[in-house]
Symmetry: C2
Subunit: 199 residues, 2 copies
């Protein structure tokens, strides 16, 4: 239990409420002459409501802490010359280990010799595009997710031909991750997750 206050506010916080915390609580304030009391009855429906709210907040905080996340590594825009190989690598997190799925222009990326995805130690997610061509230009997204939810982060890839002027490309979105809710009904179809370990 923690208590505190300032000139304008007095507060008490019950951090991990249990049945034992039920009962009447009284604040007593002195103005130098008289005592002023305020009593709160934390029992019955009031306790049940407060406890349910506590449970909800606790679960939300737990889910936010443990959901799939892209910790970092991906730029917003990547420009690369035709014929080269591109490696997009980022650090991901989730507890339990998240599933990682890559999209191109909002569609699931079909994996083959050209598009290779890896996930190392459940932590380093890579998309490797071998021998890029102008058809590989577009918006790529990584979807990192576990049962607590996740997020989607975009990278715009722009392939230019040798000797060509570099295109002036804007990132697809605001450069911010898009949250993915935990509810499976809200999810886009998922492909099989990236296999662990490099080939």
């Amino acid at each position: 239990m923690r208590i505190g206050g300032s000139e304008e506010i007095a507060w008490m916080q019950i951090c991990e409420p249990t049945e034992k915390d039920k009962g009447k609580y009284t604040f007593e304030l002195f103005d130098g002459k008289d005592a002023h009391k305020r009593t709160i009855d934390l029992s019955g429906q009031a306790y049940d409501d407060a406890y349910a709210e506590f449970q909800r907040l606790k679960a939300a905080a737990f889910a936010e802490k443990n959901r799939g996340k892209v910790i970092g590594g991906l730029p917003d825009v990547v420009t690369i010359m035709e014929g080269k190989t591109l490696n997009l690598t980022c650090t991901v997190f989730g507890n339990p280990d998240p599933e990682v799925v890559w999209f191109k222009n909002e569609k699931l990326l079909e994996l083959n010799d050209h598009y290779v995805v890896t996930l190392e130690q459940g932590k380093y997610a890579s998309l490797i595009i071998k021998g890029v061509s102008s058809e590989d230009s577009g918006k790529y997204s990584i979807n990192v997710k576990n049962k607590y939810g996740g997020e989607m982060v975009d990278v715009t890839v722009s392939v230019y031909k040798h000797g060509e002027e570099l295109p002036d490309i804007k990132p697809a979105a605001s450069g911010k991750a898009r949250l993915i809710p935990a509810d499976p009904a809200q999810e886009p179809a998922m492909s099989k997750p990236a296999k662990s370990g490099r080939k």
Copy 2:
């Protein structure tokens, strides 16, 4: 030994010359009526010169095959929003395992909590810039090198502020690797190579 020819040329190739290949070689051509002969004496100085040239070409081919190389992975230009973390990863090769050194604007990159470099399995080289700021904009180069030589590959990094227009950035060079000769006297000063394994 291989022989071949066309209407205009006749050739003979001794693939791995030894002492036994010394001696006189004669080409005989028929024009339908007469025979025409050309004789080459592959012995003495002629053999020694040819052998020395063979040794030189063989060593050069071996060095070219085994020198440090960036196989692929790096784009030419990367644009990223301030505050994010950037991971530049590429696949390198060399036999023996190459040393990997990173430069920023032609100067050795000083490694610290902000700039982290890794080299995994002697094969996957990464430069991670944590929490990029506009001061991190510039030309980064990876130098991959062993005793047979190596190469330098550039990436232009452009950091933009949230809400700012994306800058129109051109790659620093032609998008091609710059060769590094094997001769140590030709080399720029090298920093200690990236340690193997992620932290």
